[in-house]
Symmetry: C2
Subunit: 215 residues, 2 copies
Amino acid sequence: MRERFYGELADLGRQLAAMCDTATAEVRLANRALLTQDRGVAAQVSALDAELDTARDRCERTAHSLLALQAPVAGDLRMVLAVVYCADRIERMGDLARHIAELVGRAEPPDSVIDRVRTLGELVATMAENLRTFVGDTDGTHFATLNSADERVDELHRQLMVEVTGPEWTAGVAAAVTVTLLARFYERFADQAVSVARRLDFAVTGDLPAPPRRS
Amino acid sequence: MRERFYGELADLGRQLAAMCDTATAEVRLANRALLTQDRGVAAQVSALDAELDTARDRCERTAHSLLALQAPVAGDLRMVLAVVYCADRIERMGDLARHIAELVGRAEPPDSVIDRVRTLGELVATMAENLRTFVGDTDGTHFATLNSADERVDELHRQLMVEVTGPEWTAGVAAAVTVTLLARFYERFADQAVSVARRLDFAVTGDLPAPPRRS
């Protein structure tokens, strides 16, 4: 019975790791679509996002049947519930990557901000990639690792908002709207990644790290 | 044992209903802060949001201890897991109401859009209020009820985005950024409310209604 439980828990971990891979691939593709303004690439993002939706549903069903059939307690229960939580957050990361791709074809981010947009994209893709290595790792300090990347994302988000609403913005209203939404989507993507890291730490240690700054 | 379980499940339901009340009060306060541009009112929103964070944590702890001690199955398990899911979504509704209030003091939405902004605020507050009556109700058709309000929210969001990026927008970039964010926050608030309704239906019926349109 216990052996079967740990076998199924390992399967859940593999499902979650695969979701991290898909989310990483999806946001990389969204970054590329955005920087090249390529609608064909943007359309591929949507297909990866649909994969993530299906993977989340499967993960949740597996976890629920594990709870019903094996009634885990303590750390094992925490781990199964963490998978449900994390799968939901990773699915949301996929939605946000899709939103980024959906901005392709609207007013482009002007040259004055494109370096910061590119950096945001690279930062959040690395955060998603890191998550994959955290799944099944018992280190318990992953939140701290991602939190410092998240602080850089927040700072870039802040800088972009100052620029967009400042007196030197000459790119017009429509581009300002694009950059506002882009900065927001990247920032939310990063927040979700931090939530996943935080919950994986909790599953291992039983202590929930202090929440990230609120956004 | 069973009696104790149902007593604790009823307590969880009361916690969730109280969270719906707080979220409703919070978004109503945020609407008022926004329409009056009153920073004092905006500051009160933050206090209600902190209450919701605490309530969510408490709800989650109660649910986890119920799972560990009582190991519910089938519909009972679905109900406990639904509470965890819904508490998380309602906490997020609180974050979004706080974001709306945080826009007070920035460039105001111009007169040309203020009626639509007011309608959005009223619609989402009613959605949050409806959620309270859904908790503990075994009707199973709540998703359909909220989904029609959500369609109106989506349509207003779409109209605002067309207006903001259209040629007749004369209110400037900073006001466009405010309206873009506002429309987004209201739309996300409504999406979370729909997710709660959908999950409550699932807890009762065992069937997850078709997902809302993706956003």
